[in-house]
Each structure stands twice: as C-alpha cells, then as structure tokens.
Point group: C2
Chain length 382, copies 2
Amino acid sequence: MNDVMITGVGMTPVGEHWETSLRALAVGAAQAAMQDAGVQTVDAVIVGNALGGSISKQHQLGALLADHIGLRGVEAFRVEAADASGGVALRQGYLLIASGLAQSVMVLGVEKVTDMVGGERGATMQTFTDSEYETVQGATPVALAALLMRRYMHEYGVSLADFAGFSVNAHANGSKNANAMYRNLVKAERFASAPVVAEPVNLFDMAPEADGAAALILMSSERAGRHPNAVRIIASAVGTDAVAIHDRTDPLYLMAANLSAGRAFEQARLLPANVNVLELHDSTTILSTLALEASGFAERGHGWELAAHGKLGLSGQFPISTFGGLKARGNPFGATGVYQAVEIALQLRGQAGANQVPDPRIGMAQSIGGLGATVVTHLFSR
Amino acid sequence: MNDVMITGVGMTPVGEHWETSLRALAVGAAQAAMQDAGVQTVDAVIVGNALGGSISKQHQLGALLADHIGLRGVEAFRVEAADASGGVALRQGYLLIASGLAQSVMVLGVEKVTDMVGGERGATMQTFTDSEYETVQGATPVALAALLMRRYMHEYGVSLADFAGFSVNAHANGSKNANAMYRNLVKAERFASAPVVAEPVNLFDMAPEADGAAALILMSSERAGRHPNAVRIIASAVGTDAVAIHDRTDPLYLMAANLSAGRAFEQARLLPANVNVLELHDSTTILSTLALEASGFAERGHGWELAAHGKLGLSGQFPISTFGGLKARGNPFGATGVYQAVEIALQLRGQAGANQVPDPRIGMAQSIGGLGATVVTHLFSR
C-alpha cells in the first residue's frame, strides 16, 4: 500500500456567493490547489458534494468539474454522504493513491446552497435524515440536534450556557480567518440568550449553511518526493450508524464516530492524547460534545467540559476549530470535510498565520454526515 | 495490489415497483448477493445511486442501506455519476479491495424512479446534462441523443432502420430473462415506425427508466480462496468528457469511452477481439453505436453494422445485451452498471441459463453517464 501525501491546498472564502456558480467556486479552489502543489494535471478528480443535484439541478459533477478545471478526460466522479461528503471524497482519493492505481489525485469539495432559497432549500437538508421515519414527522437536522441536546442536558445536569465555550472559541478563531463566513466574536454570557432556532439550539449554537469550495492535491510519497508542502495522511477510516436517531441503541452515543476514530487510531497506532490539533464537525455544540466523547477525547457526559474549562484555544491544551470550524468559518456541506483537511494541512505546514497552533505534529479531521450516521476520520502528520 | 474477485451476485426484477421502497429493493438485492457468496457480513458497502436525493428525498444512502441490510457500522457511502453510478460504485469497491484496506465489499446499485411521476420526474433526469448550457435550453437526454443520431445518419448515410438490430437482439434476449422489464419481441421491420420520442429516436430505440437493485460481493483473491463462484475483475477504468455535447471536439466521438476502454484493455493486456461477451450501455441505439466505435469494436461510421449484420446474438460472433440490456431488461440508472456486472459474472460462471453465451472466457461491462460524459469499463475473466 502506497503512502499518501497532501502536497497542495486551495479554498474559496465561505459565505453566500449569490453571483458565483457552483462550477466557478469549484474551479477557483481547484486552481489554487494545483498552483500550491505546483502541478498542471492529476490522474483523477474526486468531488465531494451533497446537494448539487437537488439545489443546482446538476448531477455528474465529477466529469463536469474535471472538464471545467481543464482536466477533461481524467477519471472523475462524485461521492455523497450528506455533510460528510467531503470527508468521504478524501477517503476515495486516499484509496486511489494507496492502491497504486493513481499517482496524483485532486479531492474537490464544493457546495452551492444559494441557488435555492427559503423553505425549499430547507427541504433539501431534510434529505440528510431518514425520509421514511424522521422527515415525514417534520423533523429537521437542527430539530433532531435539539432533541439530543435536551436529553444530554437532562441526563448529565448540564445547562445551555455550559456549551458556550465551543462557539466562543470558534468565533475567536474565525475572526482571524479571511475565509470565514462570520468574523464577529461571541461573548460567553450572551450565548444562552441568543435567538432560538429549535429550543434549546440557538443561533450562537448552530453552524450556518454556506457556499464554498476547497481542494486538496494528493500524491503518492514516491511522486511527492521531497515536496516542501508535504503532509502525510497516516490514517483514513469511515464508520456508520442508523440514520434515524430513534433506531440507535443509545441516542447520546455516536457509534459511527467511535468506530471511525477507533479504526483511524488503530491504523496510525496512536491515541487521542497524541492529537495536537483537531477539526471537529461542530454543526451544533451538542454534536461537538458527543463526537469528543465517542472519539475518546472525553468520558461520557464530560465532553462539554473541554469547552467550559477553556481548553480549546489555539494555544490551549487541545485546539479545535482553529480556523473557526463549521460554526464561524461556515458549513458548505459537501465541501466542509475538505476545508477541514486543508486547515489541518496548513497547521502542520506551519502556515496557519494568525490561526497557527504552536508546533503541531499530529492533526485530525473528523467529518460527520447528518446527526452522525456517517463519520469519516483522518489523521495527519508532518 | 490485491486481485479482486466477484463471489456473489443478487438482483431484483427490473420494472415499476410502485409498492416497494428504495430501501426494500436494495435490501432484496443485497441479501441475495450475500447468500450467493455465502457471507454474513462485509467490510464495506458502496452504493451506486443517481436520483435518490431528488426523487425519494433521501441522501446518505450508504449509511442508511448498510443499516437496513443488517450491516450497521461498516464503512459505507454513495457514489454518483448519473446513470454510470453503478459502474463507478464497482470501481470504488475494486479500489477498496485492491488497496488491501478491505477484504470483502458489497457493491450495491439501486434506483427508485416511481417515487415521482410525470414531468417532475423527467426534470430530475435533465440533471444528467449540463444545467447551465443544455438544460436551460430545454434539452433532455433523449433529445440530445436524437441530435447525435440525426448527425450520425447524415454523416454516414445510414437510415433509422439500420439500427434495428440492437433492439431486436435486446428484446430477444430480454424475452428469456425473468428479471427483464420488457419480455416482448421487437420485429426489425416495425422498428423504424415505432412511436417517436424525439425524432429520430423512438420507443423501440430507447431504454425505459425503471426501478431495480443489483448487488455484488467482492473479495480479495486471498479471501475468496477457491470460491466456486469466483470471477476475476481483470481491469477497471474510468474516463470522462465534457458534459455538454456542443463542447466536445467531435460530438460523434465518445472520448470518455475511448479513454476508459483503452485504459482497461491496457491494464488487462487484452484487445477488443478478446472479449467474448459485452454488456453495453444501450440507453439508445446511437449510444451503443458510438460506444462500440470509440471502444475499438468497430471503425468510425461502422458500429451499426454489427447490429445490421446480425452478429450480436447469444451464439453470434459478438454477443451483447445478453439479458436484454438497458433496452429490454430496463435502465434503473444507478443500478444499471451493477446489473451489467452481475450479468457478466453469471455468463462467466456458466449460469446464465437460457441467456448463456457458449463458453465465454473474457467479459466486459461498460457503464455510461448521460450522453457519454462519464464512462466506466470493467473486464472480467473466469
């Protein structure tokens, strides 16, 4: 099995790109990554995208985007696992290189949500949940997150304000990231009284859906040689769970995160304590909490304490959401998992600028589909 | 790189399954394949599906279907490349085994089009074409096929009736396949006068969209051992082209088919003449013609002759669409590429019953997305 290196990264700002098409966003990120890696072509393009077929009415994005990037003819296809699509795309790029069937691959995450507005757009997001057992009841992803949060608060005697640290940290880091959607600061004392979305989840608690594109160039270690940008992918793993939360044995236990992280740590022969910088899928603070617990970073019922005790900052004991996370950088669904890997690569290259974590050696990115039905974990080293 | 074997196949009948859900179709095919392979579990499930997000309002099908099959927790995700989704799913399963990262994988193609009816369903198929340059003009896949066919007839002085042999052969084979959607025979002399869909493409010329699911169990050769079902995948390759036909250098040249087939023949060190049985993506007879030419089975302008000269039958010089092809078995978009591989595996196992080609050694399946923007070619041997 060949070693897999990241040698180039690119991204667009995250936000509402009303006047930029899906394909233009993708091309922007792709060209930046190719320039960063110093390559003119790649053997394959893997596209991570969740809702292009529903929102932009465009399928077959693999061939379409490869062509628009100037790579007509190369192997290309799209993968989808709701907002874990970008993480799964990285997994596929990893497989192509690891198998020896490709020497260089572009992993391209892209999402364009502003091609649709209002309730119709909201309905497309409900397709991330179980259509026959959740959607038909009117459940939305955020409503389901609210049920999980309320249950968690009840089980462990935690208050809404106890989750504030996640958002305070994300916005503090996002404020220094020119590509972030929200660059305002969030005050801890204001957190619990923000306008409610689905009680107890509020506006300061949940990440915004957004447009954006991010790209990675992967190479075999042989092809990468002594490339100055090279960051090594030392583990790649996917876990799954029931999509419908009521089908899970324990709704407060993200089995897919446990499986995915467990497989990744086993592959890399590392432990959670070895991770120096982590990009979590913080679409809501409850999902961050549950993911930290299931992935081995905290005991059951204690994930929120990492935030409450202020350990998450760039110079803290355990930096997460270092460029703002989904909460402040924004959540362009199918691109999000690729943004995470781009950000970890920049951290390990020491090129994170004002968002730099001091001297990280091991990075981790975890991409979650919906409320935890698909979880993809990658580990990286310098 | 590990060798990849098919050790189990399963499928549902193709047709209009008004009372069976997408997930029930998928589970039926999956269970049949697991029983055929004699396995209780696999390391991963790769789902090929084109329109589930648009028609059945369900994304994240990887996790959802893995759970419903009884494989909760395994790696799972969906791949999409319009009606080449099933071929791409096989490619991903192949990569997982070839890389050594999995020892057994289920490739599961599924499509459920009857969750939507009328013009709204037709609109979902337009997402296979280029939304910004074709769909906005009102172009549908069949209308674009009609433009190609008319141009071909003009360039090479061929009449509509000259294409009849493709459909006559497909229906003759489909008539013996209990899983085929259409089991009626088509008479050559009636072909050119069938009701028109988009002139010159008519009802006898184009394949019907359909519901259906098909599944394959893949294993490493080490895991497969001396499995009695084992069929070897000796090549796997994807090629792409511009989605918009007017962007292609020559609209009558399927570059993606040429690239995909060329890469596959190179990998297997074989030539088109070595292929004993071929499942083509015969969504229209013009696409069959162009694919035969681009893949090296006929010279430019001569692909239709294979049909006109009656060479395509089960005992003919060059058997294609041996179970009815897309035309008679039906085209359940994201499942079609998996049906093709199932059918080739049955041929190579000598278990094709009334549809058996005499003693085939090398089989080929080619899956095409839309009008040829994504083409996946696999070669198989006993």
